[in-house]
């Protein structure tokens, strides 16, 4: 068996693959957080719970309605996004005039409620969700075995991230969005319905989290607490990348996933903490984040 730095290539590429998968989820989640923060000035602590809800909607659809993975991929983001819209309309809307911290506290409370309700109903152990039949099996690449589903997750998340980047940076709709981030009053004066844009943006960010949840369901089991610790890592990713740049979120998400995967190979004891350590180092040398601008 071939080895690189004394590590079997199989293990190395296996962990790299897991790193890329985790990186896809970091990218999707931090992208959603960044888009929401840009327009609402709120850090959405419910993001992890909404990711979990996406996975649960997929599980419900399969077990209660007989609708498979592909349906879930479309329905879950819309359903959870609609739930997000209701939260924004009924609660978050009231907080825009206040200190940003209240948004964080409110969404933290909502996350506790949602995770508590799901735990009461389904316990803390995971529910299984199988890989769709079209994506079972895998390819032997010679140096490693690549399961089809994992390849799909990486390619699809990358496609979603890049489309989001394209819409925000290169289209008319995106230019309204960026303008509203800079100066909402002025954009309103041009006759654009900014409150509706804010609502839909929140729904979209939440939908991205739910989409990540659906994709995670076959890899990690569907579990009420699957998003609880993940959201803290994603916060660290956001601090490292800085929330100013969409592409920055994507690159940081994937990059940190890979670094975490490599840490699992070379120094497994630190694999849980490596992202936090990187955050500390980045704070020392570039406090505004790798892609952020100080303000």
């Amino acid at each position: 068996m071939t080895e690189i730095f004394g590590v079997p290539t199989q293990a190395l590429f296996g962990q790299l693959l897991i790193g890329l998968i985790n990186g896809s989820f970091y990218a999707l989640l931090s992208l959603g957080l960044a888009v929401i923060f840009g327009l609402l000035n709120i850090i959405n602590f419910t993001h992890g719970a909404q990711y979990m809800m996406g996975a649960f909607v997929a599980w419900f659809l399969l077990n209660k309605a007989g609708m498979g993975y592909w349906w879930a991929l479309a329905v879950a983001p819309i359903a959870v996004g609609a739930f997000g819209v209701i939260i924004e309309r009924t609660m978050l809307k009231q907080l825009y005039k206040l200190d940003h911290l209240y948004g964080l506290l409110l969404t933290f409370g909502l996350a506790l409620i949602i995770q508590g309700l799901f735990r009461n109903e389904y316990g803390s152990s995971g529910l299984p969700y199988s890989i769709p039949s079209q994506l079972q099996g895998g390819q032997n690449l010679g140096f490693m075995f690549l399961p089809n589903y994992r390849a799909w997750v990486i390619v699809f998340s990358l496609a979603v991230c890049l489309s989001t980047w394209f819409v925000i940076e290169k289209t008319k709709l995106g230019s309204y969005l960026r303008a509203a981030t800079e100066n909402p009053e002025l954009v309103r004066a041009f006759g654009i319905n900014v409150p509706r844009m804010i609502t839909l943006t929140y729904g979209f960010g939440v939908g991205l989290a739910a989409l990540a949840g659906v994709m995670a369901a076959p890899i990690y089991s569907v579990n009420p607490l699957m998003g609880a610790d993940l959201i803290i890592v994603v916060f660290a990713v956001v601090v490292i990348g800085g929330m100013g740049s969409i592409m920055g979120s994507i690159v940081t998400g994937f990059g940190l996933g890979i670094i975490e995967g490599l840490t699992k190979v070379f120094y497994p004891e630190a694999s849980n903490t490596v992202i936090f350590i990187i955050m500390a180092i980045v704070l020392m040398f570039r406090p505004a984040g790798l892609f952020g601008t100080p303000r």
Binding site: F108, L112, Q115, G116, L117, N120, D229, I232, N272
Partner: protein
């Protein structure tokens, strides 16, 4: 007395605050007649923890979402030094408190580099790192924690396994910490902190080194949280992972929010309310978490002043 040189406004505030202090003192002195002393000791530990947390959010405007790391660190160090090194309780508590202070310096230097929402995310992430560290490192006993910590003899004389000796010790520590925070808030140093909270740029332009003030407040808050955590570990003779978990960081935010952000007595009332609720709901599984979440939502949407904040508004005096 000093009251003669105080501004008139401050003199008018002192009356209700003295009364509030008397009520609080009477509650904790007479409380054991009606409630379990261990429960009240827990309330005092967490009241001190919440007061220390409130020093930061209420008077400097910094929301730390990682304060459990100080509570937990001090608990582990206190438990370890008392059990393995055989230190007397006062030295073990000092060791735990000092450890939390050192952790406060290290994390504070990093966290104060960003403001507002980023500060909250950074402290949360740093606390999660500390959590994983304690989960893996051998001295904490991992999932089991450090159990059967001896309470020992205070100054080598007073046996703290006697519940009333322990109660008096905890009461003294709580009052000491509380008065220190009270004194800090009303000192010139505290006035500068409030100026930073209200308008950081203006405080800078007046020549104050804002970062140094923030760091000092952060370290003081961390140290006093550590004092609470170390005492708590001796009361329960246990140091465990749940005191370092992000859930605990959220709980102290909740206590302070319920009682009233930026009030003096709010965190004490908040700690009592939240812990009493947990006690009653303890048998109902995850309903505790759901109830906590619901209180967060209600407080943020409709009750932002908190219990003591509303009371203070009624009598138009700060409490």
């Amino acid at each position: 007395m000093a009251a003669a040189v105080l501004p008139a406004q401050r003199r008018a505030e002192i009356g209700p605050q003295r009364l509030a202090f008397a009520v609080m003192l009477a509650f904790f002195v007479l409380g054991p007649l009606a409630m379990y002393p261990v429960f009240l000791m827990k309330v005092m530990c967490f009241a001190l923890f919440a007061c220390a947390f409130n020093l930061l959010i209420g008077f400097v405007g910094l929301l730390s979402f990682g304060h459990a790391m100080f509570l937990g660190t001090a608990g582990y160090v206190c438990a370890y030094t008392a059990k393995v090194w055989g230190l007397t309780p006062e030295l073990a508590i000092l060791a735990g408190t000092a450890a939390a202070g050192v952790l406060g310096i290290v994390t504070g230097l990093l966290a104060i580099r960003r403001q507002g929402i980023y500060f909250a995310m950074i402290t949360l992430a740093l606390a999660q790192m500390i959590y994983f560290f304690y989960l893996q490192t051998p001295f904490t006993g991992g999932e089991d924690g450090i159990q059967a910590v001896p309470r020992g003899k205070l100054f080598g004389l007073i046996d703290l396994s006697n519940v009333w000796a322990m109660y008096a010790t905890v009461l003294a520590i709580f009052l000491g910490g509380f008065l220190l925070i009270y004194r800090t808030i009303h000192s010139p140093f505290g006035q500068v902190l409030k100026a930073i909270r209200e308008n950081e740029a203006r405080a800078t332009s007046l020549g104050y080194d804002v970062d140094r003030y923030k760091l000092a407040a952060y370290v003081l808050s961390a140290t006093l949280s550590g004092l609470a955590g170390a005492t708590n570990a001796l009361v329960f003779q246990l140091a465990a992972l749940n005191n370092v978990h992000w859930g605990m960081s959220g709980e102290v935010v909740l206590m302070t929010l319920v009682g009233g952000l930026g009030t003096i007595y709010g965190p004490v009332v908040g700690a009592l309310v939240v812990l009493a609720m947990e006690n009653y709901l303890a048998t109902l599984g995850f309903w505790v978490t759901i109830a906590q979440g619901a209180i967060f939502v209600v407080c943020v949407l409709a009750f932002r002043r908190g219990i003591i904040g509303e009371l203070a508004r009624l009598i138009r005096k700060p409490l």
